[in-house]
């Protein structure tokens, strides 16, 4: 405890718990995000199969295509931890590569989602069509917005690295960005299982 108080005295970001406020803040934020997405997922499941007109999920969801995009997002999480590991050992060449590649995979996921949404609208499913359309677009749309925010954050970290303003002393910044990125990945693991895979 004495060491933690000493650390807190030297660094304004370290509290009496010995943890960095920024990291604790991010975990608390992710906890609140769990409840946000929990509400949207619960609403989707509550209205599942209750639309009085089509199209319904079994007529419209493209599981092979979404499986590819889910795999892309899952593997972007691997690249994110590789970026963090590279920054920790001050290997900024690979740090930059992995940060950029994580953003590219994230952008790829968003691209898949834009294609999917556009395709669904052409097939006659919009936000106003039926209960499935409104709950599906709101849930996956909010997730897509989160991914887009994550891509912008990753590109900002990459740009700082390119400009030489990010190194191993900024490990915590990359770690916090990574926490957010992994969170959007685990939310998609849940959405993919509950909305796309469960019949």
């Amino acid at each position: 405890m004495a060491a933690e108080h000493a650390a807190a005295a030297h660094n304004p970001n370290i509290g009496i718990t010995g943890l960095d406020h920024r990291k604790m803040g991010m975990w608390a934020f992710l906890g609140s995000e769990c409840m946000f997405f929990g509400s949207l997922i619960g609403t989707y499941l509550a209205y599942k199969g209750k639309s009085i007109s089509g199209p319904g999920p079994h007529q419209i969801l493209n599981i092979p295509l979404t499986s590819v995009s889910a795999f892309v997002l899952l593997m972007s999480s691997l690249l994110m931890v590789l970026a963090l590991a590279a920054v920790q050992r001050n290997d900024m060449k690979w740090g930059k590569i992995w940060l950029f590649m994580t953003a590219v995979l994230g952008a790829g996921f968003v691209g898949f989602q834009i294609f999917e949404f556009t395709h669904f609208v052409h097939l006659g499913l919009t936000l106003q069509t039926n209960l499935f359309g409104s709950t599906f677009f709101v849930l996956t749309g909010f997730h897509g917005a989160h991914v887009t925010g994550g891509v912008i954050w990753l590109l900002a970290m990459w740009w700082l690295a390119v400009r030489g303003r990010l190194d191993s002393r900024d490990t915590l910044k990359v770690e916090i960005c990574g926490l957010y990125w992994h969170f959007v990945d685990i939310v998609w693991i849940v959405i993919f299982a509950l909305i796309y895979l469960i019949p």
Binding site: H10, Y47, F71, I189
Partner: protein, 111 residues
Amino acid sequence: MDTTHGAQAPAAHDEGHASVQTYLRVAVVLAILTAIEIGALYVPGMPNHLLVVLILIFGTLKFALVVAFFMHLRYDNKLLTVLFVGPLFIATAIILAIMALFSAFLLLHRG
């Protein structure tokens, strides 16, 4: 740019992370779990109840692996686990409560 440069005590924000080899192993396990999860959909004659249970188990495993290893909760201070798992339980309760309110069950039918 940052007033904390060089001032972060290593023990102050994390207690060590997994190695790159561990990250790669976890990624391989995640890929295998995803392949099984999707492959189960195409198994002819698979009972619906079994399929739902399998998808829920594999989804939970993937979720736990990412949180434990990629998000480092396995290695970090337990307070962070409490900060995340507490709201996660509440979120799960919210989902179950909303589903129960609308009699929308994954494995049961309205009697």
